[in-house]
Each structure stands twice: as C-alpha cells, then as structure tokens.
C-alpha cells in the first residue's frame, strides 16, 4: 500500500481515498473503508488488534467503530510522524485476509420479540417515532417495512449467526450484524426520527444495518424489537460468563439469536434471578477467509455445529 493513499487534511470529499488517516493532536483516526460490510469490519478488527498487540510506547488506548479505529496517544511520548509510520507498517503487515484468525465465543441470546416492555416504551415516546399514533408496535412496523409477516421476520433474524462488529458507545453494549456478504441480505431499519431518553434494560434494538442489546437503561434511537431474557452486562458478576468481566460479548464474538415466547422468557428470567442460568456458549477458532469464500455454507455449518 502506497503512502500517498493516506490523505492528509484538509481534503475534500472528492480527493479522499480509503483508507485514510485523520491526525489530530492526541488522536490518530484510521478509516478502513467508507461503507460498512462485515468483511471490512473484520479487517478493521484485525488491524486494530495488531496495533494493540504491538504495544507502541505512548499509545494509551485503541478504540474502534465499525470500519475505523482510533489511536489515543500522548504526543509528548511519541512523535506523530513516527506514529503514522508505525501504524502504516502494522496495517500493511496484516493486510491479507488469509492471515486473520479470530477466537470467538459463540453465545446464544434468547429473545422475546414484540414484548410488552418494548411496546410500553414506544407508546410513551410514540411522537418521536415514525408511527405517531401508537397503532403498531416497532416489531410489526419493522416486519412490514421488510414486506414480511412477523413470523417471517423473526425467522430471518434467527436464521444466521451474527457478528459482534463494534463495542463502545457505553460499556456493555455491542453492535451486531448477521454474517452475510450480500448487501441486499442486510436487514435495514430506520432509526427513530428522534432519539428517546430511555430504552428498557436488555432491550433488543435494531437501527440501520445492525442491532444491539441494551446493557442497562440508556437513551437510544433504534427500533425496539424485543427483550433479551439474559443479561449482557453484570456488575454483580454472579453468572458464569461474568467471572472474568462485566461484559458478556467482545468484538469478534458470534451470537445466535433464538426466539422465545412468554413462558420460556419467564422461566429463564427466574433462573437468571436465582443465579442459576447457564448460557449456551462455545469457543472456537474462526478464519474469516473460510466465511468469505462461502458465507452461506459457513453459516449453515456453524448453526448446525452449535445445536
């Protein structure tokens, strides 16, 4: 990759070529790609991890978005030009997809779609939603936008493993997207017209091309589709996956959504409350190359193996 491809500010939109680096006084932002795709996100994760593992003196932290990562550095410990050189060298060393290996944990998340809490939250703030009269839940509205019945929409969400593509925003939340390569297969939903002041704890929400489970009550603007029965964030750390961390999911993990109904939701909640719930989880190696060559076959096999 030639250095000249890294556009320096100020640049106009037309001059920009990706990847590019935006340098500010304490932050180096590396934009991998303009558009989102799972593949570019995997590249972003591989690059960011390589930067982290290099442990460059003067680098404080390396955070990430979906197709960009950001190096927070101390400009008095490392010269910015040296940092740029170092980052470019690292990026070039991991440019090839065949080198990427992830070790995801696959986790099942049981979700009650079109649940009463999502509906209640929507009705409280319906004037900020596209549907202002409260006549249809976010879930049914979203199914209709995709020309599907509720059952078909639910099946679609549960049909593919989903990739943990970006954490951050607030601690414990994770952005996820179904592991497809075809743009037309992404489920797209508009965000609310205006963001609402709160979202129910464990709310399963979808906006743009990806979804998330709210780790606690936070503001939000994604469509409220359901309620996840199990926590994704725990400061009490009672359940097994939280022994090491407050956070259930890490970037590069894989999630499988399972649709449940009210009875099972209540059973699982009781187990969670009693500290006895056992998450269905598996650890495995994942080579993005395998997935990129045959996404459908790969996903199908992964779902089979997880059963």
């Amino acid at each position: 990759m030639e250095k000249s491809r890294y556009t320096k500010y100020p640049a106009t939109l037309k001059e920009l070529q990706y990847p590019y680096i935006s340098m500010q006084d304490r932050y180096l932002c590396y934009y991998v790609s303009e558009s989102f795709s799972i593949l570019e996100n995997m590249r972003n994760q591989a690059l960011r991890r390589a930067v982290l593992e290099t442990k460059i003196p003067g680098v404080i932290e390396v955070s990430m978005g979906q197709v960009a990562f950001m190096v927070h550095f101390d400009p008095f410990r490392i010269d910015k030009d040296d940092l740029i050189k170092e980052i470019i060298a690292i990026v070039e060393s991991v440019a090839d997809i065949s080198q990427w290996v992830f070790e995801p944990t696959i986790t099942e998340l049981p979700v009650w779609f079109d649940d009463p809490w999502s509906i209640k939250c929507y009705l409280e703030h319906k004037e900020w939603h596209q549907v202002k009269d409260g006549s249809i839940s976010n879930f049914k509205y979203s199914a209709q936008l995709n020309n599907m019945t509720s059952e078909e929409f639910e099946r679609l969400i549960c049909s593919r493993p989903c990739w943990c593509d970006a954490d951050g925003f607030v601690i414990g939340i994770m952005g996820l997207a179904p592991m497809t390569k075809k743009l037309e297969e992404y489920i797209h939903l508009p965000k609310w017209e205006k963001s609402r002041p709160w979202t129910p704890n464990r709310g399963f929400v979808w906006g743009g091309s990806h979804f998330a489970v709210h780790p606690y009550v936070t503001p939000g603007g994604y469509q409220l589709l359901g309620s996840c029965a199990v926590p994704v964030f725990s400061r009490e750390r009672i359940l097994e996956p939280f022994q090491e961390s407050d956070v259930l999911l890490k970037v590069g993990d894989i999630v499988i959504i399972r649709s449940i109904k009210e009875d099972e939701y209540k059973e699982i909640r009781a187990e969670v409350e009693a500290g006895k719930y056992k998450y269905k989880r598996q650890k495995r190696k994942f080579y993005p190359k395998d997935w990129a060559e045959d996404p459908d076959g790969f996903c199908q096999q992964l779902m089979e193996e997880f059963k």
Partner: protein, 329 residues
C-alpha cells in the same frame, strides 16, 4: 471522614480519570476542569490524582467527622465553613463537627471540594472517578446522597506545612460567559463545505449540557453538506441523512454534527462511538473552558494546526509546573 448532610448538585467522586477502557465504551470520567482539580491537590500536597468531590454549581453540605484540611477550587463561589465565607484557592483547617458548604457558583459551573489525603473509595476500572450512566466507580457508582460517609486517605503533608497555603492571584482562572475554543479539524470534516463559516459564527450553549456532551446551536446557520452538493450517495450502513456516518469513532473533545444543525461537543463522559459525523476535536486545555461552561454561554471556534494544539499543551504543562514549583516543600 466526612459525612454528607445535603447532596448538592451531581456531586461525584472524581480523580483524573480512567484510561485504557475507552475501547469498551468507558470514557475518562475525569474532572471537567482538569486545571482547577489539579491545583486543589497541589495546594494540599496530595498526589494530583487523589480523588475529590466535583459538582455542578452547588457543592454538598458536609460535616467533618475527623480533623482535616479543605480547599475549594473551580467555579467562582463563596465557600462557607460553619456559615462563614472563606476564600477559594486557599487551604483551610477544619475540625470535627465543622460544617462545610457553598453558595451557588457566580461564574463557571464546576466546583471542586478537595480534602487533604483525598477520598478513599475503591478503584474501579483503574480509577475512582464516577461514571453515572453505568454505575462505575465513585461512591457506589452514584452521586452523593444525604447520609453518605466518605473515608479520607491520611494527609500527605503535615498540618503545619499546609497552614496558609494559597494560590497566587495571577494563577487563578477566571470564567466568562463568552469564550473561544481552539479546535483541530479532522475526522470527517470533508463532509461539510463550510467549516470556515462554522468557525466564524457564534454558538450558544443550549439547555442540554452535561458531563457527556454540550449541545450548541446557532440560529440561521446550516451545514453545507459536501456529499449532497456533489451528488455522492451516503455510504452503505451510514443511514439516509447527511451527517449520518457508519458507526464512527469519537475522540474526547470531538465536535459531532447532525442534520439538526447542532454542534455537540463530547466531554469527559463521552460516548466512544456513534453514527454521526465528527469534524474536529477541541484542544485539551480548552476542554476545561467549556467544561466550566453553562447554558447561554457564547462560543467561537478557532481552527488551529496540530502543532499549535501541542503548544497549548506545553503552555499548560509549563503553568502547572510553575505552580508545583511554588508548593514543593
């Protein structure tokens, strides 16, 4: 020990902040006015990272349970000890049973009540700072409430040496309702064609200002969206509106913009990522200025180079080093 009699407004235990967890969505959560906070600790002979109480406009009313020393820094206000006004930026001995309080701030917004030794709460993700949204750090992850009892670390300095220590007048920061903030353009500034105009106009702090962000508005101003003007479609995954971006990374101090023609300045409790365009970052020392800001303040942005930004940090470092020099004992 000190006991909370009345909670004040959003009184939070804070140190210089937590670093290394921003990638997980944990921001620094440090003091909104880093300079005033540090000076409080310097005057008390504390480590500059010692935890203290930071609040907005109004400090809590506190009862002293064990003899200690206190200093008020930050927003201009009248601190009270047993109902009598005492000067800010000066160390005061307080005895068991004394009551410490403060009249509402006159200029600026963030007040620091600092104690000899600093507040002893557990480290959480490497820091004692409070992150309210997730209940991390501080005193039980929340703002102080009536009846809370805070432990203090032993004083780092003998009381005879603390007696009478005060900051020279020339070092005391002053806070105004109108100020300039230096900004290094970057991020996705190419998404707008009128960054120059952005810097020429006056912005006003709206009613939405807090530790996460200050939302600014400027009636009549509109962003000139480069993508729309050039007929280039939105990137896949960004969302339909100009100003929407594929989940983007936000530096602390970043200016985030949106179709509503707002400018949102992210501060100490910033969200680390989000779906909007950012156009630059406010230089660190100037984040203290807006950190002391409040609704109705007028702001102008000045575009500076990275090198000019670094000079601002050097200047701040020189100033602090001078102050430290005075109080080295």
């Amino acid at each position: 020990m000190i006991k909370v009699i009345e909670p004040g407004i959003e009184a939070l235990v804070t140190d210089l902040g937590r670093f290394g967890y921003y990638d997980n969505g944990l921001p620094p959560d440090g003091p909104m006015d880093n300079f005033s906070f540090r000076v409080g600790n310097i005057l008390l002979g504390n480590d500059e990272n010692a935890a203290q109480i930071g609040c907005i406009f109004m400090a809590p009313t506190l009862e002293v349970v064990e003899d200690t020393h206190v200093v008020f820094t930050g927003a201009e206000c009248d601190p009270l000890i047993n109902g009598e006004v005492v000067p800010m930026w000066q160390v005061h001995p307080v005895r068991k049973g004394d009551v410490i309080s403060q009249d509402v701030a006159k200029s600026g917004s963030r007040v620091y009540v600092c104690f000899s030794g600093g507040i002893d709460t557990p480290l959480d993700y490497g820091s004692r700072s409070t992150y309210l949204i997730a209940g991390v750090g501080g005193y039980k992850g929340r703002a102080l409430q009536e009846g809370d009892v805070l432990k203090l670390f032993p004083s780092a300095m003998h009381r005879s040496k603390l007696q009478g220590r005060k900051l020279e007048g020339k070092y005391i920061p002053r806070f105004f309702n109108s100020y300039e903030l230096r900004v290094v353009p970057g991020g996705m500034v190419h998404e707008i064609n009128n960054f120059d105009e952005f810097c020429e106009i006056t912005w006003t702090v709206s009613q939405y200002f807090g530790r996460t962000a200050y939302r600014l508005f400027s009636p009549g101003f509109e962003y000139s969206w480069a993508r729309r003007a050039a007929g280039i479609p939105q990137p896949f995954g960004a969302g339909p509106d100009p100003g929407n971006a594929v989940l983007n990374i936000y530096p602390v101090g970043a200016i985030q913009i949106n179709l509503g023609n707002e400018a949102i300045v992210l501060l100490q409790d910033a969200v680390s990522a989000g779906g909007y365009v950012i156009i630059g970052t406010i230089v660190g020392p100037d984040q203290d200025i807006i950190g002391q800001g409040k609704m109705g303040d007028k702001i102008k942005f000045i575009s500076v180079s990275e090198e000019q930004a670094l000079e601002a940090y050097r200047e701040r470092a020189r100033l602090l080093s001078e102050i430290r020099g005075i109080y080295l004992v």
